[in-house]
Amino acid sequence: MTTHRMQTIVEPSRRRSSRRRNDFAVAILFLAPATVGFVAFYVWPSIRGLYLSFTDYNIFQAPVWVGLKNYEKLLTDDKMWNSIVVTLEYVAINIVFQTILALLIAVLMQRLIRSTFVRGILLMPYLVSNVVVALVWLWMLDYQMGITNQLLEWIGLPRLMFFGSEQLVIPTIAFVNIWRFMGYTALLIFAGMQSIPNTVYEAARVDGASEWQMFRRITLPLLRPNLAMVVITSMIGSFQVFDTVSVTTQGGPVDASNVIQMYIYKLAFSQFKFGYASAVSVVLMLILLVISIFQLRLTRANSSDLV
């Protein structure tokens, strides 16, 4: 900044161009730290991962180029297909319920709860680390000693094997993460709601619209770009579920909760098949890419109805 001011005084006639050049230098400076991180931790690993997916690599010895062999193997790998089905089941349950609940909480935050304290509490689960959340729920949902099953028994219902049954394990893991993330998602949606001008609601109220009509006809449509962003980012996060599974079930029973990230982790770090694991990662990336583009198109997230 000092440099800039000095130059302005010395050479007022060249002010415009010199300022632009200086802005560029400053911009580079500000962008550099983030760019270094982005290149070192995202771009380079992605490129290397893509390369490794065409190789046979056990981490100890240099990778050997095998062409499309890993991808051919993928097609007949039942475990991989199972893990995709399991992941889709997880994402479906997670996203549907998380979004609905978050929307509900956001509306409550906007319409009912003014207290910053209560709003803060809604965010609490998000502030606790994933591993701790998973552990706490693992204990609470334990078949023999968990408090949840004690409660079920008092009400007169049979005990449930939340993490031990093949049917319940994915819904259970999905709900643990819904519990953790709904407050945060609600906050994002709430922020979007704040940007909807109050005048619209006032006009609607004058016209005699009910609360539900206002929600249906004003809030939802005007929230669309925001909601689309929230759904896309949480869906990408949801596809990448790992820590909760790793802490609670490690993919079991049998492969009932062997989500795709868990499978990739096991392939790479316990079987040392880094090449094949990279190929599965590339497939996951492609799935996410297709879904994101599709959603962006479908929801027209880049245009707002407000203007």
Partner: protein, 456 residues
Amino acid sequence: MKLTRVIAAAAVAALTVGVAGCSGGGGSANDDESGPVALQYWLWDEAQLPAYQACATAFTEENPDITVNITQLNWDDYWTKLTTGFVSGTGPDVFIDHLSQYPSFSTKGQVLDLTDLVESDSVDLTAYSPGLVDSWYGVDGGLYGLPKDWDTEGIFFNEAMVKDAGYTDSDLQNLTWNPTDGGTYEKTIAHLTVDKNGVRGDEAGFDKNNVKVYGLAAPSDAGGTSGQVLWSTFAASMADWNYLDKNPWGTNFNYTSTEFQQIIDWYFGLSKKGYMPAFGVSSTNAYAQIAAGNAATAIEGSWNSNSFATIKGVEIGIAAGPINEQSNLRGSQKNSVADSINAATKHPEAAWKFVKYMGTTACQDLVAAKAVVFPSIPSSTEKAIAAFKENGVDVSPFLLYNDASTGRTVAAPVTLAADELSDLFGDAFDNIWLGKTDASSLTPVVEQVKKLLESQ
């Protein structure tokens, strides 16, 4: 001017971060063999840390220019950290190795072949408890570790519950067993099982869906490849049975015979009868179930003797596995851990010196005095048993398998691709425990595993 200063500051910051990032390993900074050397030694069992710390201290007293820094990591992190350590060059110089893990390290050239060192220093490999060294010969014939201890399985039981059920200690010590009706072993387990209404497992009106105390604690998983603390004691009691056609380095698992599959169906069948928790009922290990009073007995490894003996408020007795009615033998898997040397160590001589020292009675007697494991040299084992006894724990049942007239041991299976096998067999045993299939489903898995191992 300010800009340059900012850039310089940023560069310095980046450099510092870089340096900090690199110094994580800490260990082998000293390249000079003649100067003082600091060895990095890794192990996973917290309970064994004091014992080997005592060893390391005594070693440094004898070799003042070599210090040993011990790092203890939990089992789950241990192998990941070790792998990244090998790759990044920040691994330990010496580490405790496991039979299920060393094949992949040795075939990838990460651990040192000790054959020549053993020969040139004429280390007596016959000093170890019989059979222990055999498992540590790699697929290429090299020796990849010196065994430091051994373990077998046994029955840990809650003394009070056993007494309440009308049994004596010697009843538990002399159980017999067959895979058809389970013999007196199953009768005892059944009688020790108590439901919510106080009805015992072998009495009329027993409610197997509402059990308060199980006769046998559930293992924490279906046992992977070898069922070590599950069914291995029963399988090993069959005369002539072994895990593999050839161990180590066989490809064909002996899991296809009717006799074997009968054992598996009988064992997991205990769950269906309500004597052992069904799959998923218990998310804790056997130790926790015994400590919480949810189970009366558990099949567990000798290395856990101390943990069980020190459970507050629960008096624990130890018995060997039941006697097979047909072979008249007790059986157990026999496992060992060993010290291996990182092939990339900068101090191979010091590392070997330390490994060699840990294989002597000087170190093993120190370990024995701490009463945590059975050292690999028989005379030190005797001392460990005496030390256990002094602490009030009678571990002699674990030795019954070693006498060929009363028992037999089978070496833990050593194969390539152990993790993949553990996944394949783990899923198969999961399904059997879940009750979705019976043990005949193991036959195709054995075929699959055979093909996989032959393609390695």
